[in-house]
């Protein structure tokens, strides 16, 4: 977390430094115990959380904080389920009061079945939140024009979708993700759509700063093992990006010397 020497391959968002380039969601697990075990295995330092009404008839029900302590993980409150800018802003103001921090994940969604980002609402909400002192990591369309507007406005991270939320389709438009990364000066994360480890590695190979996923781990048959796989995939993809891949060749180029062959 904060204070990591810059020589490490750590990354920074809104002045906070992190080692792990994997951010995981805390939803859709079978139990809070499974949530805690999978998140621990993922090595994530940042976790996304949702803001919802408390159950008034069962006020002593176990709470997420008891299993995923905010003293250990950086909570990134989201606006999942918000379809208007106003709902998103209200939700994050409540989150700030509940948690006392201002780093948030904004998402303003269009209707089912795609829940594709509503960029008009997203831009409106981002403007209001930044004016109110929030540091906004923004879920957005894989649209370089909208991404640039969000960055110019002051968003601290741009998070285009790889594919619709919960679809597990992977990166449906890697060219656009790469284009957004190339023009951005703030971190770019692929958020949503990751289905399996190779998708996360691919996002990192494109040069993304980090990957955000939830269902790919929570809906795996063995979430803890998939969390281990995602951790390794993000590290592998990052190393491959830093190493610089070999050029693509449309013909063979033998790896063994052609001289000294027996006759």
């Amino acid at each position: 977390m904060d204070g990591v020497p810059a020589a490490d391959d750590s990354w920074e968002v809104a002045g906070r430094r992190f080692r792990s380039r994997l951010i995981v969601g805390t939803g859709r697990y079978k139990s809070l115990e499974e949530t805690a075990a999978a998140i621990e295995a993922s090595g994530a330092e940042i976790v996304t959380v949702a803001v919802r009404r408390v159950n008034l008839s069962d006020p002593s029900a176990p709470m997420l904080q008891d299993f995923v302590p905010p003293t250990r993980y950086t909570y990134l409150p989201n606006t999942a389920g918000c379809h208007t800018a106003n709902d998103a802003v209200r939700t994050l103001r409540l989150a700030r009061e509940a948690g006392g921090w201002n780093l948030v994940k904004l998402e303003v969604l269009g209707p089912p079945p795609f829940l594709y980002p509503d960029m008009e609402g997203t831009l409106e909400a981002a403007r209001a939140l930044i004016a109110d002192g929030f540091e906004v990591m923004v879920y957005c369309a894989d649209d370089p024009v909208a991404a640039r507007k969000l960055e110019d406005m002051g968003c601290v991270a741009i998070m285009p979708l790889g594919a619709p939320i919960g679809s597990g389709l992977g990166l449906t438009n890697p060219f656009m993700i790469r284009s957004i990364k190339q023009q951005a000066k703030v971190p770019v994360l692929v958020d949503a759509g990751i289905g399996t480890a190779s998708d996360a590695a691919k996002a990192m190979e494109l040069g993304c700063d980090a990957v955000l996923l939830n269902s790919a781990i929570a809906h795996a048959r063995d979430p803890v093992r998939m969390a281990v796989a995602m951790k390794a995939a993000v590290e592998a993809g990052r190393n491959a990006f830093l190493a610089g891949r070999m050029p693509v060749n449309y013909q063979a180029d033998a790896s063994s010397p052609m001289s000294g062959l027996i006759r």
């Binding site: 805390t26 919802r52 008034l56 709470m63 209200r90 269902s215």
Partner: protein, 88 residues
């Protein structure tokens, strides 16, 4: 000599009118009665919530935690009480 008439204990006479003067608010979309003068802190205590783990919005305005003891609720107030749950 007649036995003394049954007399209500002091304060009893005002009990029923006080019941009638309870005020109606909405909490998380559900109708709820509270006593006049109840604060946000009193409501949270009645429900049984840990104030450190929730946030409260009153008529679409945040109620800062530091003011829970001083904000008295009034008839028709619409409150949202939220907490963090699992999400992506």
């Amino acid at each position: 000599m007649r036995p003394p008439a049954l007399r209500a204990p002091p304060g009893f006479a005002t009990f029923r009118p006080a019941m009638r003067s309870r005020i109606a608010i909405t909490v998380n979309g559900e109708a709820r009665d509270i006593a006049p003068g109840d604060t946000v802190a009193a409501l949270l205590r009645t429900i049984g919530l840990d104030t450190r783990k929730v946030a409260v919005e009153r008529n679409e305005e945040i109620v800062p935690r530091s003011t829970y003891d001083s904000v008295a609720l009034t008839a028709g107030d619409r409150l949202e009480i939220v907490h963090f749950i699992g999400g992506g």
